[in-house]
Subunit: 204 residues, 2 copies
Amino acid sequence: MGSSERKEREKAELKEQILHTAKKILLKSGKNGLSIRKIANEIEYSPATIYLYFKDKDEILHELMEMGFMLKNKYMAHAYAEKDPAQRLYEIGKAYVSFGIQNKDWYDIMFNSDEPMQHMAKCREDWDQGMAMFNFLTMTCKEAIQKYDLTTIDENVMALQLWSSVHGLVNLALTNRLDIVEHADKHEIIEKVLSSMLHCIFKK
Amino acid sequence: MGSSERKEREKAELKEQILHTAKKILLKSGKNGLSIRKIANEIEYSPATIYLYFKDKDEILHELMEMGFMLKNKYMAHAYAEKDPAQRLYEIGKAYVSFGIQNKDWYDIMFNSDEPMQHMAKCREDWDQGMAMFNFLTMTCKEAIQKYDLTTIDENVMALQLWSSVHGLVNLALTNRLDIVEHADKHEIIEKVLSSMLHCIFKK
DNA sequence: TCCTTTTACTGAACACTGTTCATTATATTT
DNA sequence: AAATATAATGAACAGTGTTCAGTAAAAGGA
């Protein structure tokens, strides 16, 4: 009979509903405001029911992390399509920072939080999205090195140098530490640092 | 009578004891393991008593932040004493990263946590330690720019570029995201990025 | 249709968290 | 010794993640 298939579909539907609600609460109340009990309340099930669909809160945050990467990819799409690797690096940096600044809670879950990493460790899973992102950055660096004949820098070092810079900038901005040391406009100063960074790398 | 003086001294002593215990728990159980109730339990007072000496947990974390900066200064002392500004920047970077990697909980409270910033906002206080740190970095950049005739870079931009890089590196390392994208030795790769960063800036 | 088995769900509890406040205990002063 | 001022707390409020015995509902078989 097809009833077992229907049941599986219903089970998947409730799982989706839980995640959809989790996302809703995340957007409304932030990561700190997201709790199992609030999700349960919203979908009108008991908190215990959540644990029939997810092992623990870490797993839910891991799923939210994956959703975050999908959102981030929308921000990156235009930059990724740029032909010139040097210009592409600049566009990637700008898009990355825009995503981070405009989506604090998503960014925290993806790049700062312990819970999704904890879940991956428990499941012996890889950080596929993070690795894919970094690999693409590294490939663009490689292209740029070849095209602009940058003999003194390694592509892996260059990629990490760029990533850590924008990661640091976003975190300083999101924790309100950037405005304290630099009163000027946040976007302007970040733009300047990113430009300076790339200018440093590409000048010979 | 001097009894009021003695009472004030006793009050200050208990305040010190609370902070000392908070530090002890932070070192043993991390920031997440630090709770008002654990402090109260350790010093054998009721949790409510803590609130006679501190407005809230934010204030305690703010005090811990200040303690963290004192510890950091010990890490930085040698670097700060370096004569040559370019070499000093390198030593500062290395010392900063060492401090961060070796003191996750202190680093989080100082450079990532919201609570100490929240406390400062409530008290309309400045982030003195952070500003002092950044000002010193900026001055060193200014010196380096003058000595090595770097005409294309602004000292403020350069300082922020360096800070965000090491901040990003430390955070990626502390959240176990660095080892995932780069399997090589953590310290080695960080050293390489820092060197590359400074090499980029100082080459003409 | 009735009965058994399987699946789905939940109430209540456990062990925590920060914070407040009326009440009690202690110490000081009159 | 009594009155006052200070210090400390018990208990409660409103939360948190998580577990598990027990119940309700649906599915399968006779």
